[in-house]
Structures are given as structure tokens and as C-alpha cells.
């Protein structure tokens, strides 16, 4: 199966600062992926590099098997991108923006664009700058969707929206992904928003990929173990400990299981996606960057080829 998006040891440096380092991941076609990480983790850089806005310092990006930087005329019609804060030409009317989309895109679906605007109740003759932030975000999304892309990337699309606008935005997005076989990657610094719509998770922290994989499998593989402190060693022999906290007599571990878990002395609990993400982000702070992502990728289910 061909991956919609694939990066191989992708690195991007601005001057002396590495915004992204050794980032290897794949987003299979048809998935709705969540790209999660704290502010400054490199999410925007990863997205911009993926759509060819930035050239990688090292490594490769492939969109459906082709480099968006080397073959922009092939890649651009297949890519949709909603940048942070959903930039629009503020003095254009909504109709003007749709005309822009029609004039610049061979695959443009004018019917879809107009139908969505109508459904959202956005008047076509209004200037984009006069509309609310939520409506501007919706317009940016519709512009990207009406391009009929195969891969849609959205950079923090929900950050500036109120809860109601968030829900409507996600609904528009979900409708579109159901209608056509669209692959989506959304970035956010919080997972909560995305959990309902996404089925794939990529955790990025301190310019490194910490975790990448199917959300269901990730949830099944991660467990919280509470048990005697002296038994931690035994667990660590077969499973990967992501997070540990100790009290005097007992330890609480968040582990990724690498096979069947037989730990009679441990109390095994399910964990939420948010806890998993936080554990991976917390791990980054306490360990050296080189020890975590690569080493784990070798033996875990999150191996990305």
C-alpha cells in the first residue's frame, strides 16, 4: 500500500536551530491523522516541509511516492493545506476567493464549494475580513477541500476557534473525509479535540517523532501498571516503560507492551490517549533525545517503514 505521506530521516534547520530532526514517519492513505506536540515541537515545520513550502535540510518527503519539492506541478493539485490562523485575502469577497480557487486549480469543484458555503450560511458577497474567525477558518477549509486534494494538511486549525466553531469545523472536515477517500493530517497541541475525528496518531516533541501509529492499536498496547516497586525490573525486560512514578512501596508505570502481559503482581489499567501522549511528551523532558524514539521504534509496534 502506498503511503499518502512519508518522511525519511527528515531534518530542517533554521540557522543553528534544528526545528526538526531525524523525523521518520508514514501516514497511510485514507487515514485521518493527528499530529500532536507542544508548541515549538516542529509541527508547523513538518507540515510545511510535507507540502513543499520548505525544503528539507536533510532527508526526504514523499507525497504519494513523489517529492513535492522536486515535482511541484504533480504534487500541488493533490495537496490541500490550511495554514495556521487560516490566512485569506481579507479584502476579497467570499465569491472572489472561490473564483481564485477555480482559476488556480484544475481539479476545482465549484459545486462543492458553493454548496458548503450555503450550508454554512456564509454570504458570498461578504468580504472575508469582515467575517468571524470561525467563518474564516471554514472558508479556508472549504477552499482546501474544493481543490479536491488527496492529502489535506491542517496546521492548528482549531487553535483560534471557540468550542462551537471547533465542532462545526470538525464536522465539515468529517463530512468531506467520508464523502471522498481523503487522507488528512491535523496538528494540535492538545489531543482532546482530535480524538473523535482521528484514527492515527503522531506525537512530535523537541523536533523528534516520539510515537506514530494507529490510535486503536496504540490504546490497546499501552497499559498503566500499579504494583510493587521491586518488580519494575521484570517488566522492563520485555516491555517498554514510558513513564514511571514511585511512592515508598509501589510504582505506577505506563508501559507499551511488546507481547502478552503476564504480571500477576501488577494491577493493570486502561489508559486514555491523552495520558499516553502526555507520557511520551514527559519522557522527552527526562531522557536524552537520542535514546527514546529510535530505540523504541526498533522493537515496538510503532515501527514505521
Amino acid at each position: 500500500m502506498i503511503n499518502a505521506l512519508e518522511t525519511t530521516q527528515l531534518s530542517k534547520r533554521y540557522g543553528r536551530h534544528w526545528a526538526l530532526q531525524d523525523c521518520t514517519l508514514a501516514l497511510p492513505a485514507g487515514r485521518v491523522g493527528a499530529l500532536v506536540g507542544p508548541n515549538g515541537a516542529g509541527k508547523t515545520t513538518l507540515l510545511k516541509t510535507s507540502v513543499g513550502l520548505l525544503t528539507p535540510t536533510e532527508g526526504h518527503v514523499q507525497v504519494f511516492g513523489r517529492s513535492p519539492v522536486k515535482h511541484p506541478t504533480e504534487a500541488l493539485p493533490r495537496l490541500g493545506f490550511v495554514a495556521q490562523d487560516c490566512p485569506l485575502y481579507k479584502d476579497f469577497s467570499v465569491a472572489d476567493l472561490l473564483t481564485l480557487g477555480r482559476k488556480l486549480n484544475p481539479r476545482w469543484d465549484d459545486h462543492l464549494a458553493r454548496a458548503r458555503m450555503q450550508k454554512l450560511g456564509i454570504p458570498l458577497d461578504r468580504r472575508a475580513g469582515k467575517l468571524s474567525g470561525g467563518q474564516q477558518a471554514q472558508i479556508a477549509l472549504v477552499l482546501a477541500l474544493a481543490k479536491r486534494p488527496d492529502l489535506l494538511l491542517l496546521d492548528e486549525p482549531l487553535a483560534s476557534l471557540d468550542p462551537l466553531a471547533r465542532r462545526e469545523f470538525l464536522r465539515t472536515l468529517l463530512d468531506a473525509t467520508v464523502e471522498v477517500g481523503l487522507t488528512v493530517l491535523l496538528s494540535s497541541h492538545i489531543i482532546g479535540d482530535l480524538e473523535r475525528v482521528c484514527d492515527y496518531l503522531i506525537v512530535l516533541s523537541a523536533s523528534h517523532v516520539q510515537l506514530a501509529g494507529d490510535i486503536q492499536e496504540t490504546l490497546q498496547a499501552h497499559k498503566r501498571l500499579i504494583g510493587p516497586r521491586q518488580d519494575v525490573e521484570a517488566i522492563a525486560r520485555t516491555h517498554t516503560i514510558i513513564e514511571t512514578s514511585h511512592t515508598e512501596r509501589q510504582s505506577t508505570l505506563l508501559v507499551r507492551t511488546n507481547g502478552p502481559l503476564s504480571a500477576p503482581s501488577w494491577d493493570v489499567q486502561e489508559v486514555s490517549l491523552e495520558d499516553i501522549v502526555l507520557a511520551y511528551l514527559g519522557q522527552q523532558e527526562t531522557e536524552l533525545p537520542s535514546s527514546s524514539p529510535l530505540a523504541q521504534k526498533q522493537n515496538g509496534m510503532e515501527v514505521v517503514q
Binding site: K48, V51, G52, L53, L54, T55, V69, P72, T73, L76, P77, L79, G80, F81, A83, Q84, D85, P87, L88, Y89, K90, D91, F92, D96, T99, L100, G101, K103, L104, N105, P106, R107, A140, L143, A144, K147
Partner: protein, 316 residues
């Protein structure tokens, strides 16, 4: 992309077209009035005679007195207009996209950013070419009475009597676009564009222009009187006149030590050798026009090439 560029620059375009229309009407009205006076007073007929009297018996002087100040205003306006175009159309062209992050929208449509830039450049520079060309044609017609009286080869009329006007318009736009792309900030780019244009055009016009070809210099002694032994034709450009000092150098800055009856005697007593007059003959006019046009166009090409490189390097 044609439509998009037009839509983005609609307001500025209307503003500039309005300004040009007003200027055009003003030129047309004053031009017609001047042509009329020029014909009615007999000045035109006098100048076409094989050996016209000096100033056609006062007619020329009267005409210049009446309309001369207009030429000064127009000359200044013609210097300012390209700067205005460069600052208001050129500088924001790319800078505003970066500033409002709309490049992130438009670069992800189905055209490459290089094509996007080339289309933008072609349209804006094409407009500059048309505006400059139309203005040049109008001004050559408008200035024609003066051209017959005193020629177009002088510091003021040179700017609008040939392709230099088109080239300076292109230069202003190209530099504006480059500065805007480099700085990514509209307001800063507008002011920097004005500064850069002044820093390029001032030295070219004052320092280089009189010297595209070696000036012809006539010298004569104090004994021959202060009238030059040659008479400049109407189309010759009088670049400068003054005195020859003891070392044989041209100077306008003279210091007289002893009291003598006339300035010439005082200077002679102090070792000055005589008078000089430097000029560029009328038949060099087009050579000079093309030299200056080339200078401006080469700088424009460099600026545009650098702009394309900046955009292609994907430093977003």
C-alpha cells in the same frame, strides 16, 4: 493568475489610473493651449525658418516666461511618479503576501510559486511599460514647443523625452518588488524603496549622465571677452561653464585677492587663465538616452533575478 493579480491590486490600479487620467487631462489642456500660442504668435513659423533670429525677436523669451514654470512642475512630477509606482505597487506586491501569510494560501494552489511570481511580475511590469510609454508619448508631444526652442537635452527634459522614462518606471517597480520580497514588511519596504531609488537615480543623473561621453570643452582667454567663441545650438546641453585656474583646472569657485576694475582683470592678476564652456552636442541625445535606459534596465533585471531566487529558495 491574471484575474487574481488584478483583483489584488484593483484599488491601487484605480488610484494610479485616476491620477494618470487627471495628469493626462492637465497635460492635454495645457499642451493644446501652448501649441496654440506657439502657432499664433508666429514663434513656430520663425523657428522653422532656415536662419532664425536669436529668440525670434523676443517671442521665444515671452513664451518661456509664460510657460517655463510648467516645465519645472512637470519635470518634478515625472521624477516622482515612478517612485510612487515603485513604493505603492512594487513594494507591497510580495511583501503584503508574506506579511498577511497569504503566500501560504496561494502557494498551495495548483500553480508553482515560480509561475505565480512570474505572472505577477509580468503583469505589473507590463502595466509599468504601458504607463511609462503612454506618458512618454504624451510628454514628448506636450514638450514639443520647448523642444524646438531650447531642445530636450537638459537635466529636466531628458527624464521624459525618451525611453529613460519607461526604464525609470520599470526600475522603480523592480526595486520595489525586490525590496518588498527581501524585507517582507510592507511599510518598511515602501520607505526603503524610496531611499534606494533616490540612492540610485541621484548619482546616475547628476554624476554619470553628463559624462556618458567625454564633454566637449571650449576654453578662451580673458582678452576674448566673456562671450564664448562658439554658439551652442538649441539642442546642445550646456553642462557647465566657469573659469580656468592657474593649474589649468575648471572651476566655478573663484577667490579674488586684489581690487581690480573688472572680475576678469582680478582673476587674470591672480593667475587664472581664462573661461571655459563644457557641453554635450545635440546629436548625442539618443546615445545618452539608450545608455541611461540600459543602466536602469540592467539594475532592474538584477533586482528581478534576485527576487525570483528569493522566492524559489523556499525560505518561508
Amino acid at each position: 493568475m491574471i484575474w487574481v493579480t488584478w483583483r489584488q491590486n484593483r484599488t491601487e490600479s484605480f488610484f494610479i489610473l485616476g491620477l494618470l487620467a487627471l495628469g493626462g487631462i492637465f497635460l492635454l489642456l495645457t499642451g493644446l493651449s501652448m501649441t496654440n500660442t506657439f502657432q499664433q504668435s508666429g514663434l513656430s513659423a520663425c523657428l522653422t525658418r532656415p536662419n532664425p533670429l536669436t529668440n525670434c525677436g523676443g517671442l521665444g523669451g515671452a513664451f518661456l516666461d509664460h510657460y517655463g514654470s510648467l516645465v519645472n512642475y512637470i519635470g518634478v512630477a515625472v521624477l516622482i511618479l515612478p517612485v510612487l509606482l515603485g513604493a505603492l505597487v512594487g513594494a507591497p506586491l510580495v511583501a503584503r503576501e508574506f506579511e498577511q501569510h497569504t503566500h501560504l494560501l496561494v502557494w498551495l494552489q495548483s500553480i508553482t510559486r515560480t509561475r505565480w511570481l512570474i505572472m505577477k511580475l509580468a503583469l505589473v511590469l507590463g502595466m509599468g511599460l504601458l504607463v511609462g510609454g503612454a506618458l512618454m508619448a504624451l510628454l514628448i508631444w506636450w514638450y514639443s514647443p520647448f523642444a524646438q526652442l531650447s531642445g530636450s537635452f537638459n537635466q529636466l527634459a531628458f527624464d521624459f523625452s525618451g525611453p529613460v522614462l519607461i526604464a525609470s518606471t520599470i526600475l522603480a517597480l523592480a526595486l520595489g518588488i525586490f525590496v518588498g520580497t527581501l524585507t517582507r514588511r510592507t511599510v518598511f519596504a515602501i520607505f526603503l524603496t524610496i531611499a534606494v531609488l533616490v540612492a540610485i537615480r541621484l548619482p546616475v543623473e547628476i554624476g554619470l549622465r553628463p559624462n556618458y561621453q567625454p564633454q566637449i570643452t571650449v576654453t578662451w582667454s580673458f582678452a576674448q571677452g566673456d562671450k564664448p567663441p562658439v554658439t551652442l545650438k538649441a539642442g546642445d546641453w550646456n553642462v557647465g561653464q566657469g573659469f580656468i585656474d592657474a593649474q589649468g583646472n575648471k572651476t566655478n569657485d573663484v577667490h579674488v585677492s586684489g581690487p581690480q576694475e573688472t572680475l576678469a582683470q582680478s582673476l587674470q592678476a591672480d593667475g587664472y587663465r581664462g573661461y571655459y564652456l563644457s557641453y554635450q552636442p545635440a546629436d548625442r541625445f539618443w546615445t545618452f538616452q539608450w545608455i541611461e535606459t540600459s543602466i536602469y534596465l540592467i539594475i532592474s533585471l538584477l533586482a528581478l533575478g534576485a527576487t525570483v531566487l528569493l522566492v524559489r529558495r523556499r525560505m518561508v
